[in-house]
Structure formats: C-alpha cells, structure tokens
C-alpha cells in the first residue's frame, strides 16, 4: 500500500502551509488529518486572545471574520470545506474523474456532518450536550456506518472509492475514531469498518499522526469552549 507524499517541484522550496485556529479540534481537525495523511508538514498559530483575532481582522485576512485560516500557495483561505477541497485536489486525494470526485464528496460531506454535530455539542449546556452526543452515536450506528459498511462490502476493495486512498477514507477514519471516543463499542456490528480502521491507521503517514505528541488535537473541553467564547465574544 503506497502512502501519499508531496513532491515539491525541482528547485522550488515549497513553504509549509500555515494554519491558524484555536488550540482544539472543531473545524480545523479535518484539515490537520488531511495534511498529515498526505505527508505534508505544516505550521500552526494558535488563537488565544481577542487581540490576535482583531489583528487578523484588521490585516484583512479573514474574509468573513472567521477561522480556520490556512495560508498556502500564496493564498489566504478560509471556510473549512474550501480549504479541504483545495488540499484534497492538490494532493491527489479527490479521485481520478468527476464521477469518483462526486462519490468522494458525498461520503466526505456525510462524515463531516456527523463530526460537526460532535463539535457543536461542546458549546451546549451539559444536559443538551449529553442528548446531542447520544444522538450522534445513534446516527452513526443507524445512518452513517451501515452505508460505509455496505460500500466496502459491495466492492470488496481496501478503500471507499476507486480502489485508491482518498479524502473520503481519511474523513471516515477520523469520524470512526471520534465516535469511538463517545462509545467504544460502536463498531461492533461493522466488521469491514473495523478492518478498514486498522488498515488505514497503519498507513505510514497516518500511523505517525496518531502517535502521542503529534499535531492531533484532543476533544474539546471546558477550557477550549472558554477560549473560543472569549476570542469571538460570543
């Protein structure tokens, strides 16, 4: 199984992409995953104060006043999905043609919906948060995971689309790990997803990313919520 790595053009030292976000998962984590899986090193600036945020605004970097922000290839990009889509295309993780691309988009968008539910729950009052997270586990088990189990079963291949590692595989692994943090046995009825999880986790770039001390962020806690509320004055 080949791992994906970027090859800079000869004679050009590619600058590392620079990420700017709160020190946490939420909307930046999928971007971390994609870059890591593609074997791309990146730098990070963590948003910790209102002053940093206001400076970014004043410098005109935040098109809609929002982060995540990624500086890459001379562009200043915001909007999570725009960033993910660009990275997936740049690192050849979007399929070989339009029909593969649309399947990758469908699968990735579905898993992103699921992960956004988890991210948003962090900001709710405790009782609502419990309910929301229980709903996520239920949706994972009844709506999302069965779909992906069936896809893998129908074609019997190692990856979701086109027998090639793609953005959809990265998103699915990320979603599986996030839901497992809520309920460790969530994959019990999905043998192919279990095998998928092991297989993708063992890819060299992903294995590296999953090790402690890497740039992967932990689940959102009270402190994270406080920082975000403070910086964005919510």
């Amino acid at each position: 199984m080949t791992s994906v790595a970027i090859k800079p053009k000869p004679g050009v030292i590619a600058a590392k992409p620079k990420l700017c976000y709160f020190r946490g998962r939420c909307r930046m984590e999928s971007i971390h995953w994609l870059l890591a899986a593609a074997g791309v090193e990146f730098e990070e600036e963590f948003l910790e104060t209102r002053e940093q945020y206001e400076k970014l605004q004043k410098d005109g970097h935040l098109l809609f006043g929002q982060v995540p922000l990624v500086e890459i290839d001379g562009m200043v990009l915001t909007q999570t999905r725009a960033i993910l889509s660009y990275l997936a295309a740049k690192y050849n993780l979007r399929g070989k043609d339009l029909k593969e691309a649309v399947r990758i988009d469908m699968y990735a968008d579905g898993t992103l919906d699921l992960m956004m539910m988890i991210a948003q729950a962090a900001f709710k009052p405790p009782e609502e948060k419990e309910e929301d997270l229980a709903l996520v586990v239920q949706k994972a088990k009844t709506r999302y995971f069965p779909v992906f189990e069936k896809i893998l079963k129908d074609h019997g291949e190692d990856f979701l689309v086109g027998n090639t590692f793609s953005w959809a595989d990265i998103q699915l692994l990320e979603a599986i790990l996030m839901v497992e943090e809520l309920n460790a046995s969530v994959l019990s009825d999905f043998p192919l997803l279990k095998a998928f999880k092991t297989r993708i986790s063992n890819m060299s770039t992903i294995k590296k990313f999953l090790q402690p001390g890497r740039q992967r962020q932990p689940p959102p806690d009270g402190r994270y919520v406080e920082v975000v509320r403070n910086v964005l004055q919510l």
Partner: protein, 223 residues
C-alpha cells in the same frame, strides 16, 4: 441521449433551490418529483434511494446523488462553472461557503419560534450588512472585474445573486450601500438563462407561506 436530471424534494425552496438556480443558469432543463407526504419520503428511504436517508436527491447521469454540496460541485464541474484550476476553485468555494452560511440563516428563519424571530432577524440584518455583503463588495472592488472569480461567470456569481434576491426579500434597503453587488445582480439576472428562470411560470420557487411551511414540517416530521 442522457435524460434530464430529476430532482427529488418538496415543492419549496429549502436546500434544493440553489441546485435549481445552478442548473437553470447552466441552461440545463430538469424535471422534478415532489415529495408531498411523509409516506413519500419513507418510500424513497425504503427504496434505498437516499444514501443518508436525506433529501435533496438528484438523479443525474445514472447516479442518485445526495448531499447538497456534492450535487452542486458535480453540476458546476460538469457545466464549466467551477473556475479554470484548483486555485480559482478554492476562491469559488470560499465565496460559496460564505453565501451558504448567510443563506442558511435566512432559510431557517421561518422555523424559528415566534418569540425568537425578532432577535434572529436582527442577527441576519447585522451579519448581512457588516460581514457578508461588504466582503463580496470588496472582492469585486479589488479586481474591478464583472464576476467574482477569473473574470468570467462561475457558480459563485449564481449563488451570490440568488442570495441577494433573498436579502432583498428580507429588506430591500440592505443592498443600498453596495453598488457593485447591485451591478452584479443586474448583470447575472440579464443573462438569457437566468432571465428565463426569473420569469413567472419557471421552476423557481416562491418564499414559504404558512401552508407550505406546515406541509414541509409534516413531511420531514419536524415539531
């Protein structure tokens, strides 16, 4: 010869309207099959037609596509409304997501409990005036071109102009201090395909009235 795309949704704007606009702008004729009851929705689900049990769903080129964004991406690519390269595409995506965020707030307003409506409306006005419209006006001003990206029509222009119509429905005066956006709206509205779509009797859907809202809530089992 490929058949026309077939759209599955209820007879209202919701999450399908941007798809209708994009197909229309691209000059693509499409058919619609309306979900009238929750039983209709159940049938689609039981047929296995809806990957994540949700609509919109569009049958096109032998596929049953779901997820609004995936559908829009496919149509935009197929009909050359997605820029010339991945950098143009990134800009188009960024602008489109901004349009989508504001569009979502406006779309969800009818579902808001009456007690919260005024607050929500104030938020929409504030974001429209201070965050979104200035951003797009600035983009147009920065390059002085007729369209948002790459000096030619792309999906970003179509989505933005659609949004501007909704902003006008909320309050026409919101567009007053954005001359370049007004000009873009005019320009795109006068393109033959869009002009046709804007005429009465087209497949463009009107704002949700009380009766249609009730019907939609029944179909989707929203309390």
């Amino acid at each position: 010869m490929a058949g026309k795309p077939l759209l599955h949704y209820f007879d209202g704007r919701g999450r399908m309207e941007c798809i209708r606009w994009l197909l229309a702008a691209a000059g693509v004729e499409f058919d619609e099959k309306f979900i009238e009851t929750s039983e209709d929705l159940d049938k689609l689900r039981n047929d296995g037609s809806l990957m994540f049990q949700q609509v919109p769903m569009v049958e096109i080129d032998g596929m049953k596509l779901v997820q609004t964004r995936a559908i829009l991406n496919y149509i935009a690519s197929k009909y050359n409304l997605y820029g010339r390269d991945i950098k143009e595409r990134a800009l188009i995506d960024m602008y489109t997501e901004g349009v989508c965020d504001l569009g979502e707030m406006i779309m969800l307003l009818p579902l808001c409990p009456p007690a919260e409506k005024d607050t929500k409306l104030a938020q929409i006005r504030e974001k429209t005036t201070n965050r979104y419209l200035p951003a797009f006006e600035k983009v147009l001003k920065s390059h002085g071109q007729e369209y948002l990206v790459g000096n030619r029509l792309s999906r970003a222009d179509v989505h933005l102009v659609e949004l501007l119509y909704y902003v006008e429905e909320v309050d026409p005066s919101l567009l007053a201090s954005f001359p370049l956006l007004k000009a873009l709206k005019s320009r795109v509205s006068n393109l033959p395909t869009v002009k046709k779509f804007l005429q009465p009797g087209s497949q463009r859907k009107p704002p949700l009235d009380e009766k249609s809202l009730e019907k939609a809530m029944k179909i989707f089992r929203i309390k």
